[in-house]
Amino acid sequence: MIHIVDMGVNHETAPVELRESLALYSESSEASVACITDLPWIKEGLFISTCNRVEALFTTENTQEAESSVVELLSQTRSVSAEDFLPHLFIHRDKDAVRHLLRVASSLDSMIVGEPQILGQIKDAYSKATRERTTGVILNRLMHRAFHTAKRVRTETGICDAAVSVSYAAVELAKKIFYDLRGKKVLLIGAGEMAELAARNLLSQGVTSVTVANRTFERAVDLARNFQGRPVAFEEIGLQLFEADIVISSTASPGYIITVEQVKKCFRKRRNNPLFFIDIAVPRDVEPQVNDLENAYVYDIDDLRGVVRINKAKRADEAFKAERIVEEEVIKFGKWLKTLAVVPTIVSLKEKGEAIRRAEIKKSIADLGSLSPEQMGVLESLTLSIVEKIFNDPIVFLKGKSERPHATVYLDMARKLFNLEPYDKEEEKHEHSGNDSKSQKAS
C-alpha cells in the first residue's frame, strides 16, 4: 500500500531562525530535490521551500523508514542537528497530507491568509521537481489538483480580494475615489516606514509624481531621490495642495499641519478636483474637519486600521468557503487514488491474457502452414478480441469496486481466480527505483 507523506516545518510550528537554516538555497535546490528520491523507500518526492515553510512531500510504502531518512537528509545537508528540529516537525499522512498540500497551495495555511505568492512558489518547486524527474503518477496528479484547487479558491471565494495591510487599504481607497491612479500626483509630508510604503504602492499603481516635503530639507532631498520625486520646502505645502491629488502625511508634529482653512482655499483653484488625505501620523497632521469639506476625503491611521480589520474578517468568512472547496478536492483525489490500487491487478490480468494468446498462436502457427499477411492479420484480431472480451467484464467489475472499502477482497479473489502472481512488493520496489520507469512516469 502506497502512502503520501507531507512533513516539515512552517511558520506555526517553528521559529524563523530554524526555518531559515532549513530553507534550501536556491542555487543548490535542484540538487537537493534530486537527492530526495535517492533515499531508499521514497518513490516520488519534492521539496517546497519558502520563507515560511520547508516541507518534503513524498510517496512511500514504509512511512516510518522514509520519514526518518528524510529527517536524516535534512539534518545532514543543512547541518542542523535532528534533535533541534524534531520537536518542531509536523507530519501529515495520506488524506491529511493531501489536504495540507491543497490548503498550502490555496494560501489557507499562509501567515497572511489569501496572499497570492505561495502558489507561484509551489509551481516553481514542482517545475524543479519535474526537471529532475523526481515526481511520478501520484505526485504529478496531486500537484495538478493542488493548482486546480488554488484556482477554484481564488475565483469562487473572495479570499484574495480585500486589502489586509494599511498601505494597500489606502491604495484601494484611492482607487475607489480616482478610479485610475495614472497621472495622479502624490504629496508626501514627513517620513516613516508606513508612509513610504504607501507612496511606493501608489507609484506601482501608476502615480506619475511624488513630491516630498520635510521639516529638514536635506531629508526631503534624500527621500525624493528614492522616489525619483521632487523635494519642496515645508513652507510650500500650502501651494502644493493646489497640485496634489493624494497627500500622505506622517510627521511628528504635535499640531495640525493641514488645516480646514488651507484646504478650503485650495479647492477653488483646483476646480474641486478631489483630494485624498492619508494621515498616518499620531497625533494627526490633518485637521479632522477637512473630511467635512466637499470632495476632500481624510483617512487617519485608525480609519485605515478599521478598513483592514473589516477586510480580515471578510477573509475569515471566505476561508470557510475555501475549506469546503479543499475538502471536495481531497475527496476527489482520494477516489482517484483508490482506483489506482486496482491498476496493478488489471495490468497483470491483461498481461496474462496477452501471454496466453501469444503462447497459443505460437503453438498453432506451425500446424496452420504458411499464412498470407491478410490471414495473419485476421488471426491476430480474432485472438485479440476473444481475450479482450473474456477479460472485459472482470476488469469493469474491479474498476467499479475500486472505491469500495472491501476492494482488496475483490482484488485477492481476482488474483486467485486467474492465478495471477501474488502482489510482490520487492519486485515492485525494484521496478520503481529503476530510472526508466521513473522517467516514463514523469513524462
Binding site: L173, K176, I177, F178, Y179, R271, N272, Y299, V307
Partner: protein
Amino acid sequence: MTALVFGKLALVFIFLATAGLIIYIINQKKTVYLWSYRLLVAGFSCLSLQIGCNYYELGVAPVLTFKSSLSFFAWTILGAYLVFQLKFRLMVLGSFIAPLVACLLIMSTAISGAEVTVKPMLRSFWLTVHVVASFVGNGIFALTFMAGIMYLSQERQIKKKTFGSLYARLPSLATLDSINHYSLIWGFSFLTIGIITGVIYAQYALGSYWQWDPKEVWSLITWLFYAALLHERLAVGWRGRRAALMAIIGFAVLSFTFVGASLWLSDYHSFRNLGGFAYQ
C-alpha cells in the same frame, strides 16, 4: 398586431434581464451579467421594432397617449444606457437602469390605451425630430439621475467610513462623476435640439413660435435648470456631490414636466389634445 407581439416579447425579455441584473448585483457572477445584457439587447430590439411598427402605422412618433409615451421613454432610457455601456463598460449601472425601465413598462402596460386619431397636422418631419430629440434627452438625463444616486451612495460610504455591501459593487467616484459629466452634455444637447425643433414646428403648424403653454413653460424651466448645472460644471468646476444632487433634482423637475404638465396642466401638449384620450 405585429407591434403587439413585439411589445409583449420586449416586456418578457426586459423583465428577465432586470431579474438577472438584480441577481448580478447580489452574486457578482459575470455570466449572469452577460446573459442579462443579451436579454436586455434583445428586449431593446423588440421594443424598437414595436415602436417602428407603431410609427409606420400612425405616421408620427408614437407618443400621442400617456401609455405609449411611457414605453417610448423607457425605450430612450434603454437606448441611452446601451450606448453609454459601450463607452463606460459599467456593468453595475445596468442593475440600476433596468428596474427603472421595467417600472416604466409596467406602468405603460397597466394604463389602458385609447383609440388614437391622428390629426393630419401632426404628420410632420419637425414634429418627429422634436419628439425624438426631447425623449432621447430625457432618456440620457435618466442616466445622469441614476449615476447621481449611485454617486451619493458611494460618496457617503467613503466619507462616513462605513462600508456597506454596495461599496465593493459600485464603481469609483471618478467614474460616476464622469458619467454625470458626459450624460449631462449629451442630454442637454438633445433637449436643446428638441426644444428648437418644437419651436420651429410651432411656427410652421400653429403660426407662432412660443405660446406659453404650461408644458412649454415647464420645459423651459427644466432646460434652464440643466443649463445652469452644465454651466457650473464646465465654467466653475462643480463636480461630485453637488453635481450629483443637482442632477437628481433636475430629473425630478423633468419628471414633473413629463407627467404633470402633460396630464393636468397642459393645453395643446396634453394627450387629450393630441388625440390620445377618448373624447368625452
